[in-house]
């Protein structure tokens, strides 16, 4: 294997029969002998489901692992907040599910914009994940007979979602975290908490380490390794308001992009249909209400004659259950992009509810009548409590008010079948890569992908890289590391020295507004052009007028945020450019110019059945394409009617 950058975007997936690709690939890959593994140093950045699982598993295999996270503990990565569940093709409910079925639903749910080989592998290992998690002691929900329970999620007509009440992400992450801490105890993994990666160090075009800021004392330092694994999540916080944690950011991925890693499909953003609506200008984030609620909750708005009335007083005949009306076969369980767009249409038609008119109802009256309050509480109790704490309203008595919010980003750093980016030695896992969800991710598939990448893919493919690549010894005294530390310090210095008039959050809020209005749930040539004009202006103002207070050598949240917003200002422009370039609608990317008479997304398979991957260069960006070849699935118009 050569150590040339993969700028031709070769997927490196084996050809031939889909069902046996991964098996054949595992056989063909190079391996590292157990005694040699401890000679390799691996850096894993991020301790969510993907990063935590990867660091733990690589440690178990015997590699020397250094694991980094910005949080104060590896247990707090944002995977912890995933509520609803994790998909697997176990077919325990005997409703006809299979690996192929999960593969097919995921390809279709992604609106035919993902790579068949990657998605099939994901479906294949989904069952191993459930087995592994149960072996770790993850307390999934069970039936009285002692076996595991399943529920349904959007975009599927089977029940394949395993769950732990509304805290599935928490339980899975604590499983990965415990496996990770076990390796810390054994000395195979060394933890670096409250460290932020601020640069990727490359030597001769190969990833050989990272530069970090110690968030406690501000120290900037470098770490050398034989390979870098990035699992730093998505970039939804670019919109300022999203369901992401406050600390979620794109900086690690973006700095890799600026060191040569191509960024794929940045415009694919998932707007989640069921979130608690915005209540005021001070709003700092939005809270998701799990998609699982759509198993029993019914989405509606009042008909014309009952507008403005108290929802509990509106009779059945005066309610428009619009998802059930428009999509009778999937009803309230249509995929997220479809449900979000329909909510937006209701609000645009002036049929929204609540004081702001920017919300729709999610109603449990029918489920409480059918199952009883206790059964509904057993399934969704913590979500109902969360809703009540935030809104001050009791959802057992009055319907929830919900509205779509930015939730997940399908785009990310481009990776091949081995999860390696265009930079040799840099592997990217989980939400940070682009590979498995196409233009729209189905519910309960993020947890599946994170753990698949971390437990069952990277342990093999990283061995292949290390076993087939001749790497010269390099340490932190190499010029490339010194230059990286200097560059990080120089940027920090520059930010402190601006001493402008506006806060970091002022700029972030302004960027979020531009993005939500112009690059949000629906986009057009006009809005995208506007964003491409406005964002660079805002970026220029940021570098002249931001105020970063306080010192560098202390815990300082403002300098942390300033670096992240500086990167969001660049990524925002790229998102708009990517959305403008993609002259079609697909999944979460809805271009007003490209829709059917029924307002459904209209794909253009002739011209856009490809991945758009952006190379960063001195002129800005160059767009490259990886053609998507569908050998097994026939491309049809997605229909949930």
């Amino acid at each position: 294997m050569s150590i040339k950058p993969n700028t031709e975007l070769k997927s490196n997936a084996p050809s031939g029969d889909l069902q046996t690709k991964w098996q054949r690939h595992r056989f063909e890959m190079k391996r590292v002998n157990p005694a040699n593994k401890r000679k390799f140093n691996v850096i894993v950045v991020g301790t969510g489901l993907a990063g935590g699982a990867a660091a733990a598993t690589l440690g178990e295999l015997g590699y020397n692992v250094k694991s980094f996270c910005v949080q104060d503990s590896a247990r707090r990565a944002h995977s912890i907040a995933a509520q609803g569940g994790i998909n697997a093709a176990k077919n325990y409910p005997n409703d006809g599910d299979s690996v192929y079925n999960l593969f097919y639903d995921t390809i279709k749910g992604g609106d035919y914009r993902s790579r068949e080989s990657n998605v099939h592998r994901l479906a294949e290992v989904s069952n191993n994940i459930i087995d592994q998690c149960v072996a770790q002691g993850v307390p999934f929900a069970r039936e009285y007979g002692g076996l595991l329970d399943n529920r349904s999620f959007g975009g599927a007509q089977v029940s394949r979602t395993f769950y732990a009440r509304g805290q599935t992400g928490q339980q899975l992450l604590l499983g990965a975290y415990s496996a990770l801490m076990r390796q810390v105890n054994k000395g195979t993994v060394k933890m670096y908490t409250r460290y932020e990666m601020l640069d990727l160090v490359t030597v001769d075009g190969v990833a050989r380490g990272i530069t970090t800021r110690n968030l406690v004392n501000g120290e900037v330092e470098s770490f050398a390794a034989d390979a870098v694994v990035l699992a730093t999540g998505g970039y939804g916080n670019l919109f300022f308001l999203s369901t992401n944690a406050m600390g979620s950011n794109a900086t690690a991925a973006w700095r890799c992009h600026k060191k040569g890693a191509f960024f794929a499909n940045p415009c694919y953003t998932q707007i989640h249909p069921t979130c608690i609506p915005v209540s005021g200008d001070y709003q700092s984030k939005l809270t998701l209400m799990s998609e699982s609620l759509r198993n029993d909750g019914r989405v509606w708005v009042p008909k014309e004659s009952s507008k403005g009335k108290n929802p509990v007083d509106i009779p059945e005949s005066e309610r428009d259950y619009y998802l059930e009306r428009i999509y009778p076969s999937f009803g309230n369980l249509v995929p997220r992009d479809v449900a979000s767009r329909q909510a937006k249409f209701r609000v645009d038609e002036n049929n929204g509810v609540g004081a702001t008119g920017v919300a729709v109802y999610l109603d449990f009256k029918e489920a409480i009548g059918r199952l009883g309050k206790d059964a509904v509480s057993a399934k969704y109790g913590n979500l109902f409590q969360m809703y009540e704490k935030i809104s001050g309203e009791n959802p057992y008595e009055t319907p929830m008010k919900i509205f779509p919010a930015v939730h997940y980003t399908m785009g990310g750093l481009w990776v091949d079948y081995n999860l390696q980016s265009t930079i040799p030695g840099l592997h990217v896992l989980g939400e940070a890569n682009f590979s498995d969800h196409g233009a729209n991710r189905l519910g309960a598939s993020a947890l599946m992908q994170g753990l698949a990448d971390g437990y069952f893919v990277i342990p093999y493919t990283l061995g292949h890289y290390l076993g087939s690549t001749a790497l010269a010894p390099v340490d932190e005294n190499h010029d490339a590391f010194k230059a990286s530390v200097m560059a990080v310090k120089a940027q920090e210095e520059k930010l402190f020295n601006i001493k402008g008039e506006k806060t970091v959050d002022d700029f972030h809020r302004q960027l979020g507004k531009i993005m939500w209005e112009n690059v949000g749930m629906s986009r057009s040539k006009e809005t995208l052009t506007k964003a491409i004009e406005e964002i660079p202006k805002l970026k220029e103002e940021f570098w002249q007028n931001v105020r970063v207070p306080d010192d560098r050598n202390v815990k300082n949240a403002e300098i942390e945020k300033a670096g992240r917003v500086a990167d969001f200002l660049e990524l925002g422009e790229l998102m708009a450019r990517d959305a403008l370039e993609r002259e079609e609608s697909c999944g979460g990317h809805f271009r007003e110019e490209h829709q059917t008479p029924e307002n459904e997304a209209k794909r253009d398979d002739e011209n856009f059945c490809h991945v758009g991957a952006w190379e960063h260069n001195s002129a800005g960006w160059t767009r490259h394409q990886e053609e998507l070849e569908f050998e097994n699935v026939k491309l049809v118009t997605r229909s949930y009617k």
Partner: protein
Amino acid sequence: MGNDNSTEMTIHLKIWKQDGPGKKGEFISHEAKGLSSEMSFLEMLDVVNEDLVRLNQRPIEFDHDCREGICGTCSMVINGEAHGPDKEITTCQLHMRKFKDGDTITVEPFRAKAFPIIRDLVVDRSSFDRVIESGGYVSVNTGGAQDANSLPINKPDSDLAFEAATCIGCGACVASCKNASASLFVSAKLAHLSFLPQGKIEQDARTLAMVRQMDTEGFGACTNTEACEAACPKGISVENISRMNRQFLKASIKER
């Protein structure tokens, strides 16, 4: 939405400010005006911090992340109570509607020997990680697990394991305990694993290791005040502490 009932508020804050570990700290006063009753407590602090930056002062450092009560990052004692005056919530889930216009609110960090202060309201809880590291897991490597349904687990036990496993590791139990004991945190992890057949095999070794690590970290002893359960945002039961004590006694007898 929320602003159906929004009212404007002024709050007098007394906040702990401490420049760094080992430095002398003090309460500073700040008047926060033009707040909304619909804000969360942390959104109120965001507003205060942005005002401080505009006034060319340094903002107050505090830990926070998910802002939906699950990551366990936020850690403040508000008016003497860990996570403030409301039951079963974290600080990020506390809303200003719980206070009255004109109230004085005191905000301090979680205080405990095993949680040294980093800056202002930010504390170092890595002692919790070291307790988990000492044995809070089932010793299985990735790969080779049997089919998940070949190990049926009765629902009542599985539910009890889940209840204990919902601990978010925030440390409110420690902050609210007069002895700064971590018994609720440690016993919740032990209960989660010992209710399940997967965790039974290593139960004795795990119990001994985690309890001893807890002592090594400088957490105090439990004297059954049950303040921890009252402060726990997830309502973890003190029954877990009794279980832990029984299991520790059994394991230490067997060890001899």
